[in-house]
Symmetry: C2
Subunit: 243 residues, 2 copies
């Protein structure tokens, strides 16, 4: 069975539309490549109680949970407090990280900067090769920052730790057919290959195809055979290409 | 008090990273402009039970719920079934929409196309000026399609219905200061103006500023005064501009 994952995206700026969240898509692609099934994403505001409540549910029902956002120096960065509350642990300062922060900011260092050294008691700090500060990990929860550049750096570093050699195989067939015209065929393919996820995506803007059909699964052979079945049963003039 | 809203984004393609969801940001901005507080977004797979369970929770705890995705003609489009299950209602075919679909597809019409005429029994069908099919509305739940162009068309049409003359006022101050250096000041401003949401966003790529501070609220005067307080207390050489 695949490992399952959930994401908790934290930030008023996402819910007010000020910032478009791109971390979900980056995480989703990365987990997919690792053969980990992202089952649920929740976006919530910067509130300690809300974060704690959401996290309680996500971490008890998924193998891995990734949080994004709310770990900076300002008053609305309360993710660490929320995570700590979820685990019933106090927030403590990491001496090692505080030292790094003092070194980085020098004379300008203040209490706000040092908030970034806070972590739930007993959390692990994973050093990253490129990101400025370590990543807080507690049990099955990985606490990542909202800034996309740093989120991506940190997740990329975590991939080695998460990789268990599982992977998904993918094929795509592009067709000039509308989605409705092949819906019955796709349903038969999905039933014939229960381990293969069959998806279809309509292009509304002009392209050389109208519907892209995707086949994904752990079994490369089943994925290829499912794609074969579509190509074989599709009228030849509707087939565009296969990738 | 502001009305509250939640969104349920439905689709395996979002969770596998095949498609980047843009509907959340579009919806978030639109609701913000209407003075409606988007409190929670959940992304879930195309599964009837999961959709029904998520929707039960979201619709009982928010004034308005918007779903995105899973309303096309294929076997994995099960949102209508999920919504119907949440309300304990059977799925029925809308005669009016079936007629529109038959007219549109002519001789090519099939059962898959006609699935798009399905709705939970007793749902309202809102005709839209530009979108091809009506929008299904049941109680406080608005069922929107995942294709961004159509999602945006339909939500734009719904705005008139949702507009109650409330609105949020926004101001932004751009500064050369780092976020940590003004964290204490921002906290004092947030405490002095409890009805104003204060947000801060760091730019990591080169710009003429380092931190953008935003002020949002229902009271235009309080928003302006909160922004004044930042400008007044900021060192003049750190101020870039105000919008």
């Amino acid at each position: 069975m695949s490992r399952t994952a959930a994401a908790l995206i934290i930030g008023n700026e996402i819910l007010s539309g000020k910032i478009a969240d791109t971390n979900t898509t980056f995480l989703a692609r990365g987990l997919f490549e690792l053969g980990i099934e992202l089952r649920r994403v929740v976006v919530c505001p910067d509130e300690i109680d809300t974060i704690s409540r959401e996290l309680n549910e996500l971490r008890s029902t998924h193998d891995l949970v990734f949080t994004s956002g709310g770990v900076g120096p300002t008053h609305d960065d309360v993710t660490i407090e929320g995570v700590a509350a979820s685990f019933g642990r106090p927030v403590v300062q990491s001496e090692a990280v505080a030292k790094m922060i003092r070194h980085y900011y020098g004379d300008r260092v203040n209490d706000a900067h040092l908030r970034m050294a806070n972590m739930p008691e007993g959390a692990e700090m994973i050093r990253s090769s490129e990101a400025p500060w370590p990543t807080v990990v507690i049990d099955n929860v990985f606490v990542l920052p909202g800034v996309p550049e740093i989120f991506e750096l940190k997740f990329t570093d975590l991939r080695k730790r998460l990789d268990q050699g599982q992977e998904f195989h993918s094929q795509a067939v592009f067709t000039r057919s509308g989605e409705g015209e092949i819906a019955g065929l796709l349903e038969r393919i999905a039933k014939a290959f229960p381990g293969v996820m069959v998806g279809s995506y309509v292009k509304w803007k002009a392209e050389d195809y109208r519907t892209k059909v995707t086949f994904d699964g752990n079994d490369a052979d089943a994925v290829a055979k499912a794609a074969d079945m579509l190509v074989d049963e599709l009228a030849p003039d509707l087939f565009v290409r296969r990738e």
